[in-house]
């Protein structure tokens, strides 16, 4: 592809290895592994021994500097907004670029409503024989439902919340639900910056597969591997042209020589998944963030849909 040189000037991460990009990076360098445990909600089921990666403690309101939008957020949205906020602040994008010239490109994972939010609706929708009734859902179930639940299951909401919080108003695309789709988001961001459609792009992904519904689906789909335990996570990068980074004397983590998403077929051993669990739609962005800081770190991530994301980077930071 002919175009301007693109560099990464901001990163944000929230993973089982750390609540910030710095913590995750430090844990990765020190060889630490995530802690894994079963999901309590599935304790008395055949999936009772299925493990998920545990997340570090963090206060999203404090990280975002506001609690105003939290009521609209799914778990995935919280993770994505916090990671995007860290990346945006890292590159000072609000101070340096017009909102209309900042693009947003993101991947999101499988949707899932929180059990405690869905329970009142479903409880009111079950008849005396324990059967789900559409009529009862309409008559009673909806009245028992928090209207905000809709915002938490629509797949585009996590990145839209990022746009609202960060004031990003430029071109955008959101893909779902596996690793390869976030790879496409990163690729589109890279192209948009390189070709001058945007001055800077906030790009990444967030996923929260460590959830009872999702775990059950992953089990049905044969995606619960012994070596690949589901993990929540999110990561965002800021890409811009080398020229603007130089002009503003911005720290450059890495130069991006090439990015691609290809049909790869088999999923090879994934060191990222082995160390921190499988973050699905967040994984390519996490790999990219780490590869911007760790020499020799693989950026290649193959998804459940058989598409593989790969980036060639030159670390400069």
């Amino acid at each position: 592809m002919e175009g301007s040189e693109v560099v990464v000037t901001g990163i944000g991460m929230l993973t089982p290895l750390g609540a910030t990009a710095g913590e995750t990076h430090g844990a990765w360098r020190s060889g630490r592994q995530a802690r894994f445990a079963p999901l309590p909600e599935l304790a008395h089921t055949p999936l009772g021994t299925a493990q998920i990666a545990l997340m570090p403690d963090f206060d999203p309101g404090e990280r975002l500097g506001s609690r105003r939008m939290l009521k609209y957020m799914s778990e995935s949205a919280v993770l994505g907004c916090v990671a995007a906020h860290e990346a945006a602040a890292d590159a000072s994008i609000q101070k340096r670029f017009r909102p209309e010239r900042i693009g947003l490109y993101a991947g999101t994972g499988l949707a899932a409503a929180r059990i405690e939010e869905a329970a009142p609706m479903l409880r009111e929708s079950v008849d005396e024989n324990g059967r789900f009734s559409c009529r009862l859902l309409g008559e009673r179930g909806l009245a028992a439902t928090n209207p905000l639940m809709s915002f938490k299951i629509l797949a585009n909401m996590p990145p839209c919340l990022v746009s609202i919080i960060e004031g990003v108003k430029g071109p955008n695309m959101i893909f779902t639900p596996w690793e390869g789709q976030t790879g496409h988001a990163l690729l589109e961001a890279w192209r948009a910056v390189s070709e001058g459609e945007v001055d800077c792009a906030l790009a990444g992904g967030a996923d929260a597969p460590a959830h009872p519904f999702t775990l059950l689906y992953l089990s049905q789909a044969g995606l619960l591997g012994e070596d690949e335990k589901p993990a929540n996570g999110a990561a965002y990068v800021v890409m811009e042209r080398a020229e603007s980074a130089r002009r503003d004397q911005q720290r450059v983590y890495a130069r991006t020589a090439h990015m691609e998403v290809s049909a790869s077929g088999d999923r090879p051993h994934d060191p990222l998944a082995a160390r921190m669990g499988r973050c699905f739609a967040a994984a390519p962005a996490i790999a990219l963030c780490l590869a911007c800081q760790v020499e020799g770190m693989a950026t290649s991530v193959c998804g459940a849909d058989g598409q593989e994301f790969r980036a060639e980077l030159e670390i400069t930071g």
């Binding site: 909600e41 599935l42 089921t45 055949p46 999936l47 499988l110 949707a111 409503a113 059990i115 479903l122 409880r123 929708s125 324990g130 059967r131 789900f132 009734s133 559409c134 009529r135 859902l137 309409g138 008559e139 009673r140 179930g141 909806l142 209207p147 639940m149 809709s150 915002f151 299951i153 629509l154 797949a155 585009n156 909401m157 839209c160 746009s163 609202i164 990003v168 108003k169 430029g170 071109p171 955008n172 695309m173 959101i174 893909f175 779902t176 639900p177 596996w178 390869g180 496409h184 589109e188 009872p212 519904f213 059950l216 689906y217 089990s219 049905q220 998403v261 049909a263 849909d305 598409q307």
Partner: protein, 413 residues
């Protein structure tokens, strides 16, 4: 950069299950909106939708999924139609497949039906039928299409809500224009006509409960509008370089010549009240097409029939087309087909092909008294003829994602 042609169009919609039927229904202003038959809606305040009445036969593996998630069958059928129309048998590494949609299906009955399994059926997940997954991932349609028609070089599933399929077509257009791909098969598929979809939108107050209006319940830009009506279906276009299409003797339905997208970054529940995001998408598309506002001869509005959206869109159109809007006929496909959410943008690109091919701009049939702030050159009473070569289609998504596409007659210079 290459000029980009639409060489195939496939559609499955509440007003037609082929391109010919769809265009015919638009010309006749025949509504596909009626009482919901897909599930027992008697307890719901919202009882209207635009349903696909006939799903053509599907291969067994697709039919199995479509039984649980009808939109997957719609996607397959529309894609098969579009490929056949473009004379393409197989997808290959030179092809991008990009489909937009909105929300996964959750099987509520499966989650709650057996009291022995407890609430959500989680007491014994092994008892859940493995051939009936709890949810259908949104990329399932693309995967099944790939399994039947060949693996494309890129397979994308866009979930940008009501802007998803317009974005998919915009992305395909750029991919072919730049030469990255020789063919793009793109569009959208959706059905929110299920208990959770209708219930969720009802809770948000986006749907009309004016059930007695029946087929005329979706009334974009009218003073009496009271919310949108959900529709379902799929629309897919095949995009190729114009030169290649002509060299191969293919029918060119239209050229795509501009695409723009933007974010409101305003709020989740309402659009930017000034219409700035919508205006930026339209301006970006005009700039991308290299044309001025005076070149546009028709606008297919997003036109949902909700109080705020229509007003904001009208304001944005008047601002972008300042001095010209009085002469640009505006129609709103949702008035007859309902709101296809993730497939809406692609369906409305399909609607834009009608004026480009036959010159006929369909009317907005239920518009009697233009709502305050909704003043535009609406097509009412009877269809009008296109008198300039370019048409523009708007798609504005829940959450503040906006996309605009510009098409033109293939002979336009």
């Amino acid at each position: 950069m290459k000029r980009v042609a639409i060489t195939g169009f496939g559609v499955l919609s509440p007003i037609g299950e082929t391109s010919r039927n769809f265009w015919h229904a638009l010309k006749e202003a025949r509504s596909g909106i009626d009482r919901i038959s897909r599930f027992d809606c008697s307890g719901f305040a919202v009882q209207l939708a635009g349903e696909v009445r006939h799903q053509p036969a599907l291969p067994p593996d697709v039919a199995r999924v479509a039984d649980q998630d009808p939109k997957v069958g719609f996607a397959y059928s529309a894609c098969a139609q579009a490929l056949a129309a473009a004379g393409i048998q197989h997808l290959d590494s030179q092809t991008a497949l990009h489909l937009g949609t909105s929300l996964e299906i959750f099987d509520l009955a499966e989650l709650t039906c057996d009291p022995q399994r407890g609430l959500f059926g989680m007491a014994d997940p092994s008892a859940v039928r493995l051939d009936r997954p709890l949810q259908i991932p949104l990329d399932t349609a693309a995967r099944l299409i790939s399994a039947h028609f060949g693996r494309p070089g890129a397979m994308l599933t866009n979930c940008s809500a009501c802007a998803a399929s317009a974005q998919a077509i915009g992305h395909g257009f750029r991919a072919v224009r730049s030469g990255r791909f020789q063919v793009a098969v793109c569009g959208g598929f959706d059905s929110m006509i299920n208990p959770l979809g209708v219930g969720g939108f009802q809770l948000l107050g986006a749907l009309t409960t004016d059930n007695e209006r029946g087929p005329s319940a979706c009334r974009p830009f009218d003073a009496s509008r009271s919310g949108t009506v959900l529709g379902e279906g799929a629309a897919v276009v095949v995009i190729e370089p114009l030169e290649k299409a002509r060299a191969e003797g293919k029918q060119v339905l239209a050229e795509i010549c501009g695409y723009g997208s933007s974010l409101d970054a305003h709020g989740l529940t309402a659009p930017d009240p000034e219409g700035n995001g919508a205006a930026r998408a339209m301006l970006a598309a005009l700039e991308d097409a290299g044309i001025g506002a005076d070149a546009v001869g028709h606008i297919n509005a997003h036109g949902t029939g909700t109080r705020l959206n229509d007003q904001v869109e009208a304001m944005a159109i008047r601002r972008v087309f300042d001095g010209f809007w009085q002469h640009i006929p505006v129609s709103a496909t949702k008035s007859v087909a309902g709101h296809l959410i993730g497939a809406a943008g692609a369906l409305e690109v399909g609607a834009c092909l009608l004026p480009l091919i036959e010159g006929i701009i369909p009317l907005n049939p239920w518009l009697r008294n233009v709502g305050s702030g909704c003043e535009l050159a609406h097509v009412t009473g009877a269809a009008v003829m296109l008198d300039r070569g370019y048409v523009l289609s708007n798609s504005f998504g829940f959450g503040g994602q906006n996309a605009t596409l510009i098409l033109r007659r293939p002979d336009e210079q």
